[in-house]
Amino acid sequence: MSEIVIDNITKIFGEGGAKPFTAIKDVDFHVKDREFISVVGPSGCGKTTLMRMVAGLETVSRGEIRVAGKPVKGPGPDRAVVFQQFALFPWKTVRENIVFGMRSKGASKAERDKAVHHYLTLMKMEGTEDKYPHQLSGGMQQRVAIARSYATDPGVLLMDEPFGALDAQTRTIMQEELVRVSKDNPRTVMFITHSVEEAVYLADRVVVMGRNPGHIREVIDVAQTRQAEKWSEEPIDDVMEKSSFTHLRGQVWRLLREQMGDDM
């Protein structure tokens, strides 16, 4: 059971210093076990900060975050992060990158080989085991980064705009792949994105954040509609033309636009 409990947290950067800055204020939210959450919001509203606190890469100023019942004290392999910058180890091959987290957990050679084979097949990247990241395209690098996190077998997967750097076509392929991988291998996921389509297409619930200081504006349920209309069995283009999809997308858009309005 890997639920994430974000228990009324506040994040103040430079607290106690000359210029404290409240990035997040009173955010209270629960992500259920194996739920896929998308987080959207205007730039600077604290999405990354929130995710980094769940990852244990950033401290919490007030409140507490618990994952699987345990308070987060620092980073750990139960909460693997997929960074926007991929963050693959340039001096390691695709194989070595994928098994990096597995080795932390003491997986045997046979288990590691099996996982490399499994994920490369799943990601349609057979035969790239011994290549180095710089020999791969951006989309392939991101797939390796995702494979590395999945192979670590974390209860929670944290992704910060993982497809942000990809071209539209690769991005679509990756989105479909992520839906497929998540269906075969459900995890608790927190997925940050700037794309409203992506957020609605992937998530069970979309969290819309606002800023000054960062807070949760609204949470929109998608899971019901997705299951009722069997989105995950159709190509992304078809899903995006459904009226149920455009309706949800419009809802998220309106919330974001109000946000922008607040500022201007």
Binding site: A55, L57, G76, A80, V81, F83, P90, F100, R148
Partner: protein, 257 residues
């Protein structure tokens, strides 16, 4: 490729001119061969020292004993300096603790350690190694530290969120990430180490090239002194050549990535 031939020609011409001029100055009697031995005297002396022991050993045995000490001190400096530098790059607290001490030590010339080296480790190999160590240590630390600071923060965080221990982060992330900087540091380090070694041998030990030099001086044999200088220069050049090759190889491999 076309440009290389004229360049090589210039280099050869400059060497011929230098040695020719040198020989001419001595042959013409402008300076006494006692003050400046001629190149021919030096070559003659070098050959003699290679077949007949001087100051207890053949020339190459002296050279080997110097190189052995050098490797000891340099290896020790790298073995302690690189991990220390990486850790300083990783942990702010360690950086704050070490930096003031380190900045103090850095500006004390290696030779200034000779009295203490002799006092603590004696005039055998220990004292010499300590002097080389003090010469070679700083660039190892500084470059490992700078290299570690330049490692992409996201790589360290990726390692952390995939469960890597600090030891593994050091070994699999910081060390390879800092490698180009470390190798560049090793090159500087080796140069300083080799120079300090000769200094140390002039004072504290009874074998090695620096010792040969001192013996040459007290035997009033300037050609022995010049022979030692040549050997020092050549070995130094060889060390630098090897490390430069390593530096180029690392840079080429890393830059592709």
């Amino acid at each position: 490729m076309k440009r290389r031939i004229p360049l090589l020609a210039y280099s050869i011409a400059s060497l011929v001119l230098f040695f020719g001029g040198w020989q001419a100055v001595v042959s013409a009697g402008l300076v006494s061969s006692f003050v400046l031995p001629s190149p021919i005297d030096v070559i003659d002396r070098t050959i003699t020292m290679m077949i007949r022991p001087f100051a207890g050993a053949l020339l190459w045995e002296h050279a080997l004993s110097s190189i052995g000490r050098f490797l000891g001190g340099f290896g020790l400096a790298a073995a302690i300096g690189i991990p220390l530098g990486l850790m300083m790059g990783r942990f702010r607290l360690l950086e704050d603790i070490v930096t003031p001490l380190f900045e103090g030590y850095r500006y004390v010339a290696p030779l200034a350690w000779v009295p203490f080296a002799a006092l603590w480790f004696g005039t055998g190999i220990g004292g010499a190694i300590m002097v080389i160590f003090t010469g070679a240590f700083a660039p190892c630390v500084i470059n490992a530290y700078r290299g570690a600071r330049l490692v992409d923060r996201h790589l360290i965080e990726a390692a952390q969120t995939h469960g890597a221990s600090e030891l593994r982060i050091g070994w699999e992330v910081l060390l390879p990430g800092a490698l180009p900087s470390i190798v560049a540091g090793l090159r500087i380090s080796a140069g300083l180490g080799w120079q300090s070694l000769i200094g140390a041998e002039l004072i504290v030990v009874s074998s090695g090239i620096g010792y040969v030099m001192i013996q040459g001086q007290s035997n009033l044999s300037p050609e022995t002194v010049v022979t030692s200088m040549l050997v020092i220069g050549l070995v130094g050049l060889a060390i630098d050549f090897g490390l430069r090759a390593a530096e180029t190889a690392v840079r080429r491999k890393w830059e592709g990535q």
